[in-house]
Symmetry: C2
Subunit: 417 residues, 2 copies
């Protein structure tokens, strides 16, 4: 496959639910972040309902403007899944059944002891001549058509798990092979505890960014993913600057998530973890166990929503709750120490806070939370105050708690129990 430079990309996201306030559309967000990482600008996203004519028009004009077009959604079994037919009309290709995709579909239904309906079998249909990529978590495959004019047209399923699965297994390697980047060098960093805008300001003002280097940012609650893309020497110069400036907060240069890094450290050291959660109500345990194999180091946790549970199951003194309130440094420390003792783990991680919308006071406003960490060296708690809605505050709480645990494990290196 000859390498070439792709000048611009577009996303056409299909689905009435994306335009009716029922499903939040993340397709352009996800693909845009991926494309920035390989130096291809996403120039436009168009969202249209499940309508053959509207999809056909949107895809046709996208192909006039851009060399790389991703069409997402509308590959399912229902009658409003018409993306294949719309793209067939634009490209003049036939829709044909694909043997491997059909075998994949039959196996899928055999596994759940169900007979696929005729409608469900449509999901094995592809455009004639398309490169086909099996769906790692669903039925409808990904498809990539290379058109006569050299432009590339991808069809990807809409459900987030399926889209993300195919982005990882099919689109990412395809891009790597397609994009001419022999002359380009890439680095990725994940920095904890800094906002995107501050990292951006410092890069702009303190590190002069050499010409030809593309810098991409991706904000996560409590962390920033930073990507450099350009000539090797220039990228290496910026890399040194980042390593020096963010030494203590540099999670990794691999793009690993904080829960993956924590899992690796705990596994290497044969250490274990238990959680005690109030405001996040199990969200920390869920994030920790998103990592396959986490049962090696994650023992369990207590969701201590009511104060009675904090006292009975975590040994928090009633007097402490009375004196400081449930959302306090003292209670966070007791919760962490309590769950560590009860579950007999190396580490106890806790959180207590006000997620809102109700329950805030002038002294304990919505968005205030404390993260507690207990280990062989004793217990500590850190105070955080963030803004946002209930879900945003909980996401921050989960992220900050994992950050506190990561720092704690790093520091303790040497005196594990």
């Amino acid at each position: 496959m000859t390498k070439r430079r792709i000048l611009g990309a577009e996303v056409v996201a299909t689905g009435a639910e994306l335009l009716q306030g029922r499903t939040l559309n993340r397709h352009g967000y996800t693909l845009g972040g991926l494309l920035v990482g390989v130096g291809i600008p996403l120039q436009r996203e168009t969202v249209v309902p499940d309508d053959v004519t509207l999809i056909r028009e949107a895809v046709a004009s996208a192909l006039e403007r851009s060399e790389l077009v991703f069409v997402t959604g509308g590959l399912g079994p229902t009658e409003d899944d018409v993306t294949r037919e719309a793209v067939a009309a634009v490209t003049g290709r036939d829709v044909v059944s694909h043997a491997v995709a059909d075998a994949h579909l039959q196996a899928y239904f055999a596994k759940i002891n169900r007979e696929p309906t005729a409608a469900q079998c449509r999901q094995a249909n592809v455009l004639a001549g398309a490169e086909v990529f099996m769906n790692p978590v669903g039925i409808a495959p990904g498809q990539c058509l290379t058109l006569e004019n050299g432009r590339s047209l991808w069809l990807l399923p809409g459900p987030p798990r399926e889209l993300n699965g195919l982005i990882k297994t099919a689109v990412t390697p395809w891009l790597a092979a397609q994009v001419a980047r022999a002359d380009l060098h890439q680095r990725v960093f994940r920095i904890l505890g800094h906002s995107e805008s501050r990292v951006q300001d410092r890069l702009r003002t303190e590190a002069e960014i050499p010409a030809g280097v593309a810098v991409a940012y991706c904000a996560r609650p409590g962390s920033v993913e930073l990507r450099f893309h350009g000539p090797e020497a220039a990228v290496n110069r910026l890399t040194d600057w980042v390593r020096e400036q963010y030494a203590g907060d540099l999670l990794n240069e691999t793009g690993e998530t904080v829960e993956e890094v924590i899992g690796r450290m705990l596994t290497e050291r044969g250490e274990t973890l238990a959680t005690a959660e109030s405001c996040t109500a199990g969200g920390i345990a869920e994030r920790v166990t998103d990592v396959p194999g986490s049962s090696v180091y994650f023992v369990g946790g207590v969701v201590a929503y009511a104060n009675a549970v904090k006292m009975r199951d975590l040994g928090v003194e009633e007097s402490l709750l009375a004196a400081h309130g449930a959302v306090s440094e003292a209670v966070a420390r007791e919760m962490a120490a309590g769950v560590r003792a009860r579950m007999q783990t190396t580490w106890g991680l806790s959180i207590t806070g006000v997620a809102g919308p109700g329950g805030g006071t002038p002294e304990k406003p919505v968005g205030l939370f404390y993260v507690g960490l207990a280990g062989a060296a004793g217990s500590q708690a850190v105070r955080f105050q963030v803004t946002g809605d209930r879900q945003q505050i909980r996401d921050h709480g989960i992220q900050r708690a994992l950050e506190v645990l990561w720092r704690g494990i790093k520091i303790s290196w040497g005196h594990s129990r």
Copy 2:
């Protein structure tokens, strides 16, 4: 103001950050939900970067297709905020300073003891002849232009707080005054335990859908949202059919989520809930507490990842684990009864299963899980087997567990403790 029928709306969202994986675009999602409520279909959303030419083209073609166009973003102080100029070029209107908006701006900066820069003062500029709506949480006002051809063009700021503020204070009342909706009727249903494609098959084959009725589906893990939109008599006929066919599985006709319905039922009855989770590791507790005010009925939970925790904290007999294994009906029942007893709640809800990717066996494959429910009438467990990746299996587990709880609460009506 004479009422009229608006046939179609579009959103043009502007901002490079929306196309680079840096900011998740919620504009079409938010406005689409609002418009569905007043019977106006959002026909398209176009996302373009901060570029005068691209914005101008996108707004011009949106105005050709639709009677109502919302342009979001690009009203700020920086040089890449060019939406006013782009729309001026499309509509032939001048950009003029607005006295009230300027007074609002001056007051804003006076409050923070700052002198507005010349760039910041641009935010008081509007399109000549626009109806202007003050920004309740920021500086740049909302603007609504009525064009010669009767079409309406809104300019709204992009930051979520400002956009949502103006949607509430300006757009919503404006829509109510504009839209004639007397002849349109809408119904929404949430049906549990059926797949989108099977619900659609039955609707198509068994209930004949009257002309003029729009049917929309939205799949959620373990549930389907069904919407009818059309003439009242026809919608009511379909409504009767749905109520009859899905009586036992009809969660509600309000669009409430299962966790919201559970919360309402428990609150009404003064009942309480505790959870014991293995494979979902806190995910059920997190979903339950997504509902504001859930602390009234949700007491707490145990994340019993290791068998030691199932035994020590939930009183599961070692012999039971040895005889049936952790993933079994007997253990699910013991976990539910154990957490109910320990937390002294009306209900105990449990789950144990194999989320994968590892840990599956021929007898206990990946995707197998049991949901246990304990109440005043005793305990039961239900077996489920699903396919998918680790996250999908966990999502199914959470959804199915909530479904089991909902059915249990419904059945028990009458003999609460």
